[in-house]
């Protein structure tokens, strides 16, 4: 397995585990740790953790809301002016989680570099 895959899986795994104990920003911690341990190069520093947590949040939110016929997701979608479209809301959720994580990934790598 290449570094990207390992980084991806480890971010995913840590984000999932840490969120059981910590608030929403645990996904940022997951990326920080992962990027510190397995630093990537160039844009992938951001993109890999971004994809990992986007995927995690999309799956988690989809599992929760599909089990309840998207009752609340439809309403929150109205709140965010996304029509009554829960799919869009799930995607936005993934983007927000991914964005925070990706940026934490960049920071994780810079920590590593500064300590070298």
């Amino acid at each position: 397995m290449n570094k990207k895959s390992i980084n991806f899986l480890l971010t995913l795994f840590l984000a999932y585990i840490l969120a059981l104990f910590l608030p929403w920003w645990s996904v940022m911690v997951a990326a920080l740790i992962t990027s510190f341990l397995i630093p990537l190069k160039k844009a992938t520093v951001f993109i890999i953790p971004f994809l990992a947590v986007s995927l995690l949040w999309i799956i988690q939110s989809w599992l929760l809301s599909s089990a309840n016929d998207y009752t609340l997701a439809r309403k929150i979608a109205i709140l965010f002016s996304l029509g009554e479209n829960p799919v869009l809301l799930i995607i936005v959720t993934g983007l927000v989680g991914g964005l925070a994580t990706g940026i934490a990934g960049i920071f994780g790598k810079q920590c590593k570099l500064v300590l070298k």
Partner: protein, 806 residues
């Protein structure tokens, strides 16, 4: 270089964390809110239907909570302390955010949630003396240690639930507004009762009337606002003999009302707050059992103001609608009796003009000397801002609501409020005792604690009694007292005494075989105490009473039909006169077409008709044109009531009020009908272009709005239901029958009920609004009055609350 990069990435990281963890305006903190493990996705869940066990501190024995298919909890406890603890726990489980929000609103604490935008509202509630009233309520309840112990049990139940919560479990509104629940207190129950008191007895028009008296003079005022309308079908049948009561009437002093001009008043409760209730005796009932019905008309809100429960111990078993935050059943039944309330709409709020000795407001003039004031310091916490300190001055009348620091005009004068809501009553005791009452005498004993908001308590028992008592603590006023602003320095203007509870108007087992109330005048002119018409209903009551006089026997279907009756008596009393007198010669073809549509109307305000929309618009235009004299800037005025308006249009068609001030011509009521009609046609056609056909359903567009100012995402719109504010089915745009109940006094009682909402307060639950369609359709839930705690039939799941003996 790498240090710079490090610095930038750190800043970037902090910035994104801050941006996603902070609420901006109405936008929730996005990271927190959208996180699947912490945010709203955790609320995307309907109540589980699996049995479970929860341990609760301080229970003395296990409590079994059985949920039926409607998610109505049936609570079986071994004693009352456990029962009310369980009620607190279960109510919080389903309605926590609402419970806290309503009590925050009552206490004037919304600035804590919304920031400075709510400050004016909060100051107003503080200056209305909401906290003062709640403190007095608690003080009064302390005379009844058992009651306090129940309040504490309820409090502990609520807090047990709150303490179990992780941030991810908070109701979604907390996440949206980014705050968290605080512990429940006994005072919050008092604040909830104050919230209801404000809603139902917090209105008055003294200051508007004062302006009108000055502007129009006494003779004209009395014509517009008579103490009795020319028709009166009172709550207590007119033939009732009061002479044996030996009433002591307060003598009218020779003082004058201060002629003032007032430019600001407190926010008023919704003018349609009211209700219907009625009960028929066994002799009038198809089965020989009395039948009782209630439908309180309140704002249509989500979560609903009501939460339905069954509350049982080995000694009593009650069922019905509760108010989240208060104990026991409020409108319901038990094994022996049933009861329900409508608003008594009495004037229990008066205003006094206060003259201070100087700007310090430390002393005010009273009985020829200077009397000391006191100060209640109100600390209003504001989100993201410094706390605002409002010092409210109190006189012996009550709080100085308006003074130089709040909407007042002068440093040396103020307006003090005297309100039954400030007296402090053990109202909670009335409900707890009604839950346990076995007969008429128990009901009477329960009522005697009741102070405010005054209600018409209807009653029926399995023994075959029916009754209605207009209960509350009413000042024994001199004739005319409290209609206008009074001089606060004259002791004769004080409330001199209260009407003895036994003298409150009531009737038991009347000859006519039924009792009813619909917020109309409680009595006729023969009742010895002064009761002035402060907005009594005049239509629903007559439809109800005519209905029960129309035939010999009534069954459950008749009750349902009456609840859902859309007959528009108001329109039927004006339109025939209009059709006869209005000059139609100038109507265009298009106008003529619309005119014919309403002319053929049968006065049923059904949702799929067109005529009710024409009527609604036409009436509103006639009313506003008639009272154009009341549209004055810088002066608060109240337009006359509907009944008197129609009376004037028909009986005084040439009256000077009929003239439209802005036109050179001299209009009569006939002219007003025509002008208003032409305006209505214009409005309806414009409406039609924008929205399509103006069927009543669409034109009225009834909605049930979320407590957060009708937040659209959590509200329900365009509900197909007929009726308007003056039909028995009083469903108007955002107001209407908030709980319909029918109870037949079989043994045990058989009951139906429905409300426009759902048992769950969670917008993510399928039980959030699942009753609305059935409610609009005039359908009911069969209320499963479970007699055996072991019952399993129709039970969705069971929660066992067990004592936690750690």
């Amino acid at each position: 270089m790498k240090n710079i990069k490090f610095g930038f990435s750190l800043l970037f990281c902090i910035a994104i964390f801050y941006a996603l963890n902070t609420k901006f305006g109405s936008l929730p903190p996005l990271g927190k809110f959208l996180s699947p493990t912490e945010g709203f996705w955790q609320n995307e869940v309907s109540e589980s239907n699996t049995n479970n066990t929860i341990s609760i501190n301080g229970l003395s024995a296990s409590v079994s909570v059985k949920y039926d298919v409607h998610l109505i909890p049936h609570i079986f406890a071994q004693n009352e302390l456990d029962l009310y603890k369980a009620q607190g726990y279960i109510t919080a489980k389903h309605r926590l955010w609402q419970m806290e929000f309503q009590t925050h609103a009552s206490a004037g604490r919304l600035s804590e949630i919304f920031g400075e935008t709510a400050l004016d509202y909060d100051r107003q509630e503080r200056r209305r003396g909401m906290g003062f009233g709640a403190d007095n309520t608690i003080e009064k309840m302390k005379e009844d240690p058992e009651m306090i112990s129940y309040l504490e049990a309820y409090r502990d139940g609520v807090n047990n639930f709150i303490n179990q919560l992780q941030p991810k479990d908070y109701p979604v509104e907390y996440k949206l507004l980014d705050y968290k629940p605080e512990p429940w207190t006994t005072k919050k129950t008092a604040l909830l009762l104050m919230y209801m008191t404000k809603m139902l007895a917090g209105g008055d028009s003294d200051l508007e009337y004062t302006n009108a008296l000055r502007k129009f003079g006494k003779e004209r005022f009395d014509l517009l606002f008579p103490d009795f309308f020319d028709v009166n079908d009172p709550v207590i049948p007119a033939e009732t003999d009061w002479t044996t009561m030996n009433a002591k009437i307060t003598e009218t002093p020779q003082s004058e009302f201060p002629l003032d001009s007032i430019t600001t008043v407190l926010n008023k409760p919704h003018p349609n707050n009211g209700s219907n209730n009625w009960a028929i005796s066994g002799a009038k009932s198809y089965s020989g059992n009395p039948i009782l019905a209630n439908d309180p008309h309140l704002g249509l809100k989500l979560p609903s103001v009501w939460y339905v429960m069954q509350l049982a111990t080995p000694n009593h078993n009650s069922f019905g609608a509760t108010l989240p935050g208060a104990l026991g059943i409020i409108s319901g039944f038990n094994t022996h009796i049933s009861w329900g309330e409508t608003n008594a709409t009495r004037d229990v709020l008066d205003w006094y003009k206060i003259e201070f000795k100087d700007e310090s407001m430390k002393q005010y003039k009273y009985d020829g000397s200077w009397k000391n004031t006191s100060v209640r310091v109100e600390e209003i916490k504001i989100r993201n801002k410094e706390t605002f300190i409002d010092s409210v001055t109190y006189t012996h009348h009550g709080p100085i609501t308006f003074d130089a620091t709040f909407k007042g005009k002068s440093d040396k004068e103020g307006y003090a409020m005297k309100w039954a809501g400030h007296i402090g009553g053990n109202n909670q005791r009335t409900f707890i005792d009604l839950n346990k009452s076995k007969n008429y005498d128990d009901y009477l004993n329960a009522l005697k604690h009741y102070v405010a908001p005054a209600q018409n308590f209807v009653f029926a028992s399995i023994q075959g009694d029916i009754a209605i008592w207009i209960q509350g603590q009413f000042p024994n006023k001199w004739k005319g007292q409290g209609k206008f602003l009074m001089d606060g320095s004259n002791p004769e203007n004080d409330w001199q005494s209260y009407i003895p509870k036994g003298h409150n108007a009531h009737v038991k087992n009347p000859k006519r075989g039924f009792v009813s109330s619909a917020n109309q005048h409680p009595v006729d002119e023969s009742y010895p105490y002064y009761v002035f018409n402060d907005g009594y209903e005049t239509y629903r009551n007559r439809v109800i009473n005519d209905f029960f006089s129309s035939k010999e026997k009534f069954n459950i279907q008749d009750f349902k039909d009456l609840h859902n009756n859309n007959y528009n008596l108001k329109a039927s009393e004006l339109l025939p006169y209009v059709f006869k007198n209005m000059d139609t010669s100038t109507l265009t073809t298009q106008e003529k077409e619309i005119y014919n549509q309403i002319k053929s109307w049968d006065f049923n305000t059904d949702f799929n008709q067109i005529a009710p929309s024409i009527w609604a618009s036409w009436w509103s235009n006639i009313y506003n044109l008639t009272w154009d004299e009341f549209e004055v800037e810088e002066l608060v005025l109240k337009k006359p009531f509907t009944y008197q308006t129609i009376y004037m249009l028909k009986n005084n068609p040439q009256d000077a009020f009929m003239d439209i001030v802005d036109t050179p011509e001299k209009e009569t009521s006939k002219d007003l009908f025509l002008i208003a009609f032409k305006e209505t046609v214009k409005e309806l056609l414009a409406w039609q272009t924008e929205h399509g056909d103006y069927y009543w359903k669409n034109y009225k567009a009834t909605f049930v709005g979320h407590l957060l100012q009708g937040l659209p995402a959590f509200s329900r719109f365009n509900i197909p239901i007929g009726g308007d504010a003056n039909t028995v089915n009083a469903a108007s745009k955002n107001h209407g029958p908030s709980w319909r109940m029918i109870v037949e006094m079989t043994s045990p009682p058989t009951a139906l009920g429905i409300y426009p909402g759902g048992q769950s307060g969670n917008p993510g639950s399928k039980y959030y609004d699942n009753f609305i369609d059935q409610w609009a359709d005039g359908k009911y839930l069969e209320l499963d009055f479970i007699q055996e705690p072991e019952a399993t039939k129709g039970i969705l799941f069971t929660q066992i609350l067990t004592p936690n003996n750690e």
